[in-house]
């Protein structure tokens, strides 16, 4: 049994703390398990517990002799988190007078510090998955990590079933190669399926040792019952500004969570307009520049702020000290996510957190209520594991080879040790290897360029320094659309970088357009050198209202909750009276969705017909269904234009209306015909995922230092590459990868067929003169998939000036028949 060293015992005593049972347990068994997963609610002292085994071990060793080299690696999914944890870690180290060194290493770390860290690493290094991967690409990675004893992965729950997690799982597998005895400690918030997470953490080891700490008090969660009129649609919650402001006034410090960056900008603006008492209210989201975020963090830590309007960027465990209220504006999207956010308030286990939910429209009120019910019952929505994203493999292969020469066989074995990749087929791996080596098709006999060269002993290495350099500049997997820096221009070309926006947002702007950014209205000037130049504008209302950056998916669990709410009238009592009225109105104007039936509403809207299918089958099913239905509609001559999906249903816009007869033809299992595959490959969704895949796998590159010029030459869209591959090289590995990637958002067809059978003869068509109360929030959702085909052509037709061309037709005819062809006298 490991006794806790006296210096630790004294420190705990001095602090007035007691070593908690699970902390003692972790210390006692610190050498028994290769991986340990600690699941505890926020505020349970989780992070300190993660470090305790390392601190104890290091202090005992340091008592005997000098300890050199990296002992513990701490990995956090957020850069900001490493700073915060660093501060919290230094405190006990100093107070106990330990000679343990701890440093951070992220993308923001200056290069001289990185150099020194490589030569003389600290005992404890705090870093991010991307920085870890970069360090693993160094030739001396084996020296740096060779003596590593422990690796702590914070916020492990946020790394399940996404690319970032896949990426980290590969990095961890690599660490195990360099230091086979390394022990993993995962720290996680409460999750629905601990065993799944434990398996993810353990890798090829099977299952982690799981320690669960029971949640403390259930949080007090309320929904806002506002006196102001709650709108049917929209996502900005303007109606509730006074209420939100009032809630901020009443609390010490409030975190106001919203779901998108656009919402945060707008809400921030609106709060300041209502800010009669000039309360210090700040804004925080991932697009703001580092300096701006640091400033806000510092002010918050110092207790100077009364409220911060923020996005999921603040969701994960940064300790803000004295937050006593959390307000969620907009639908909570998922129970686990909501709990995580609520957990930001009152970082103490024994007091319940206070939270207020503010739905932005009446549909969201249903979602809020469903979430409150779930929290009350102690239920969570969980993510099921997914096969690892394949586009990361070329990156990983190159990364390993940058560090040391190796063979495909070896690397394949290493990859299999990462849980998400346990099912990776050798055949796919070989194709990905080939792609990494030379781009993956050997069509060209004149091929000169290879990214990898084969050595005399059969191992492979990067072909030259440039390959290595480029790879290092492009490490990372979180590919959002291309991003542009936003420069706030004061005069000429001079100004300050204040953050970043997605490229597609910048593309839709024309000079003179105004938009909200970093809490003010800016006027767009131009895009220069990958920067968006904009000047502060005098206008109060921006012309381009928002950019939809950082939308988040809804959890299927909540969709079920909403369906249950609708079906059971008794539960309506707990809803705000306005929402009850709305439901009654829906019933009078159209119908309420019935259990076991699919309600289909149809109405003219925005120069098209909209059909809304209330399936309540979740986003994945609706996404796939959307592709199927539009394909059949295209065949029927309904001319679909676009569709958008939510968890509750999908809405399809089309040129022509759908008849009752056609509707019956839509929901038939034979819809899963042959050309389906081709139609799906046509879908913008596949192109979107190909765009990501192209960047992650290194087909096109995002970041260039000195070689801007080359970048320009690759700026033609990846859509062109996609179309070319689809037609001329349909077996290309990247198409397969893109398909696999998109399937994360799709339901497999077999399961869909079963769903369809349920819908047969159970769809009720209601024709309406305008959108129903329930339809409004859904049709106002901006994210829709455009469909190329007869519909788009028909729309273009209406707008076009074909008459002009027709009027010249006779002249052409005369030329064709009149043999008036001129002499080819030119030269």
């Amino acid at each position: 049994m490991t006794m806790i060293p006296s210096v630790f015992a004294d420190w705990f005593k001095h602090k007035g703390w007691q070593l908690r049972d699970y902390q003692r347990h972790m210390l006692e068994e610190k050498d028994q398990h290769n991986s340990t997963l600690l699941i505890a609610p926020t505020g349970a002292g989780k992070t300190l517990s993660g470090f305790l085994p390392s601190l104890v071990e290091l202090s005992q060793q340091l008592d005997k002799s000098d300890v050199k080299g990296l002992h513990t690696l701490y990995i956090s999914p957020l850069k900001a988190l490493t700073q915060d944890i660093h501060r919290n870690l230094l405190q006990p180290i100093e107070e106990m007078g330990l000679s343990i060194t701890a440093e951070t290493r992220t993308g923001d770390t200056p290069s001289h510090k990185r150099q020194r860290q490589r030569k003389k690493p600290p005992h404890i290094l705090l870093t991010t998955p991307e920085s870890l991967m970069l360090m693993l690409s160094y030739a001396d990675a084996d020296k740096l990590f060779g003596k590593l004893k422990r690796v702590i992965i914070d916020e492990t729950h946020s790394l399940m079933a996404n690319k970032r997690g896949d990426f980290l799982s590969l990095a961890l597998a690599r660490l195990n190669v360099l230091s086979p005895s390394v022990k993993r400690i995962g720290l996680s918030a409460t999750v629905a399926f601990p065993e799944t997470l434990g398996a993810w953490l353990a890798g090829s080891d099977g299952q982690a040792h799981i320690i669960k700490v029971n949640a403390g008090e259930k949080p007090n969660v309320h929904m806002l019952h506002s006196k102001a009129r709650m709108p049917f649609g929209g996502f900005m919650a303007r109606y509730a500004i006074e209420d939100i402001y009032h809630a901020i006034e009443q609390a010490e410090t409030t975190l106001v969570f919203v779901n998108t960056r656009a919402q945060s900008e707008l809400l921030f603006q609106m709060l300041w307009e209502a800010n009669k008492a000039a309360l210090p209210i700040a804004l925080y989201h991932g697009s703001l520049s580092k300096e701006q975020r640091r400033k806000t963090e510092a002010m918050m830590a110092g207790g100077f702020l009364r409220a911060v309007v923020c996005t999921s960027a603040l969701e994960l465990g940064i300790d803000w000290g004295n937050v006593d209220k959390v307000i969620q504006v907009g639908a909570p999207k998922g129970v686990s996510r909501l709990l995580q956010r609520i957990g930001r308030a009152n970082h103490r286990l024994d007091e319940p957190s206070e939270a207020l939910l503010v739905p932005a429209n009446r549909f969201e009120a249903l979602e809020c209520q469903a979430a409150i019910v779930a929290i009350d019952k102690g239920e969570l929505d969980g993510e099921s594991p997914q096969a690892g994203a394949l586009d990361i493999i070329p990156q990983f292969i190159l990364n390993c080879l940058c560090s040391s020469a190796d063979t495909p066989d070896n690397l394949y074995q290493q990859i299999l040790n990462a849980t998400p990749y346990q099912g990776l087929e050798r055949d796919d791996f070989d194709k990905l290897w080939q792609f990494t080596q030379d781009g993956g098709n050997a069509l060209n006999a004149y091929e000169r360029y290879q990214r990898l060269t084969i050595n005399a002993d059969g191992t492979f290495s990067p072909a030259n320094r440039r390959v290595i350099q480029r790879h290092r500049q492009n490490i990372g997997t979180i590919v959002e659309a291309g991003r542009l820096k936003v420069k706030r221009i004061r005069r000429g070309n001079q100004g300050k970088i204040i953050g970043e926006v997605e490229e597609y947002f910048a593309q839709q702007l024309t000079p003179g357009d105004t938009f909200y950014f970093a809490g003010e209205v800016l006027k767009f000037e131009a895009i220069r050198d990958m920067q968006l130049h904009a000047k502060p504008a005098k206008a109060k209302e921006p012309k381009i209202p928002s950019y939809a950056g950082g939308q988040m998916p809804l959890s299927t669990y909540l969709a079920d909750g909403v369906r249950a709410l609708l079906a059971d009238r008794k539960t309506w009592q707990s809803l705000p009276s306005q929402v009850r009225e709305w439901l009654t109105l829906q019933e009078a104007f159209s119908q309420l969705p019935q259990p076991g039936k699919v309600l289909v509403e149809q109405f003219p809207f925005r120069q098209a017909y909209y059909t809304l299918y209330y399936t309540f089958d979740g986003r994945k099913a609706n996404q796939t269904l959307g592709m199927l239905l539009t394909r059949r509609m295209e065949k029927m001559g309904v001319k679909p234009l676009s569709f958008s999906v939510t968890d509750y249903g999908l809405s399809v816009a089309s040129v022509n209306a759908v008849s009752q007869h056609q509707l019956q033809g839509l929901f038939q299992p034979d819809i899963l015909g042959d050309e389906l595959e081709d139609w799906m490959l046509h879908a913008p969704m596949l192109k979107r995922s190909f765009r990501q895949v192209a960047v992650v796998s290194g087909l096109t590159e995002q970041r260039y230092h000195a070689s801007q010029k080359t970048m320009k030459q690759v700026t033609f869209s990846t859509d062109l590459i996609y179309d070319t591959l689809r037609e001329h090289d349909p077996d290309h590995i990247l198409l397969k990868v893109a398909r696999a990637d998109a399937e994360r958002e799709l339901l497999d067809l077999k399961r869909l067929a079963n769903l369809l059978i349920r819908y047969v003869d159970n769809a009720t068509l209601v024709n309406l003169a305008k959108p129903s109360p329930m339809a409004i929030p859904i049709v106002l959702d901006v994210r829709s998939e455009q469909i190329k085909g007869a519909g788009a052509q028909a729309v273009i037709e209406q707008a076009n000036l074909y008459a002009e061309a027709e009027s010249m037709l006779d002249e052409v005819r005369a030329l064709l028949s009149g043999n008036t062809v001129l002499d080819n006298k030119a030269g």
Partner: protein
């Protein structure tokens, strides 16, 4: 000349073709990205950028190198339709000086066949291909004159004649009924006519970009967009 009234009417009805007037000539604009002069049976195509894919590959981008194959196949189908007496390739036909050394045998012979099966094939020089690669059939030239029209790759200032050019890869984006559409584009005014880029891997410059507006102002320009295999005037 292989096109006839029936074909023309059908193509027009299916929006595969549009007609415009430029410099006293009637021009057929094909949705596939080429222009045809019925008066002299000439077909104009611009910015093929053959072997752009393999060029970028040689810089370490693992791009698929099938762009030339795709470009040539598309061009072949068009030539079958029109069978023009002369093809004018309006510059930047080859992405760089060493294009031919990288082109596959198959593509090379395909290209030669296309050129040899056409009565006259003119390669107008462009900034990417100031010299015609060796072994390519067809006639290289700086520019071509017809009536009051000059065909060249890049526009010349103070030119008194009407100019037909490539080089800029025009594309446009427009909103119709609240939906946004974008595609390559033909664009012209009374004196300047800019061809869309034909090559498989060619991006584009928006015709509302400063550079493009300085050539063709919004007021006087006629723009035609290529979208999903149809062409329409904007």
């Amino acid at each position: 000349m292989a096109i006839n009234d029936t074909w023309l009417t059908q193509q027009l009805r299916q929006r595969q073709l549009s007609i415009t007037k430029f410099a006293n000539h009637i021009w057929l604009l094909d949705a596939r990205g080429v222009a045809y002069l019925p008066a002299c049976d000439w077909l104009i195509v611009s910015d093929l950028h053959l072997e752009k894919g393999s060029y970028l590959r040689s810089f370490g981008n693992p791009l698929p190198n099938i762009d030339s194959t795709a470009t040539l196949l598309r061009l072949e189908r068009i030539l079958e339709d029109y069978q023009p007496s002369r093809v004018i390739s309006l510059g930047d036909s080859f992405h760089d000086r060493h294009s031919m050394s990288r082109m596959t045998k198959h593509d090379k012979s395909h290209l030669s066949d296309l050129v040899n099966n056409t009565r006259q094939w003119m390669w107008v020089e462009g900034n990417h291909d100031p010299e015609l690669p060796a072994g390519i059939p067809g006639e290289p030239c700086e520019e071509i004159h017809l009536d009051g029209i000059v065909f060249r790759h890049e526009p010349q200032q103070n030119e008194s004649k009407a100019q037909v050019i490539g080089h800029f890869h025009p594309k446009l984006r427009t909103r119709i009924s609240r939906r946004s559409y974008s595609g390559k584009s033909f664009v012209h005014n009374a004196t300047l006519f800019i061809m869309p880029a034909f090559g498989q891997f060619t991006g584009g410059l928006n015709i509302d970009d400063e550079v493009m507006l300085s050539l063709l102002s919004k007021k006087e320009r006629n723009a035609f967009m290529l979208y999903d295999e149809i062409i329409f005037k904007v």
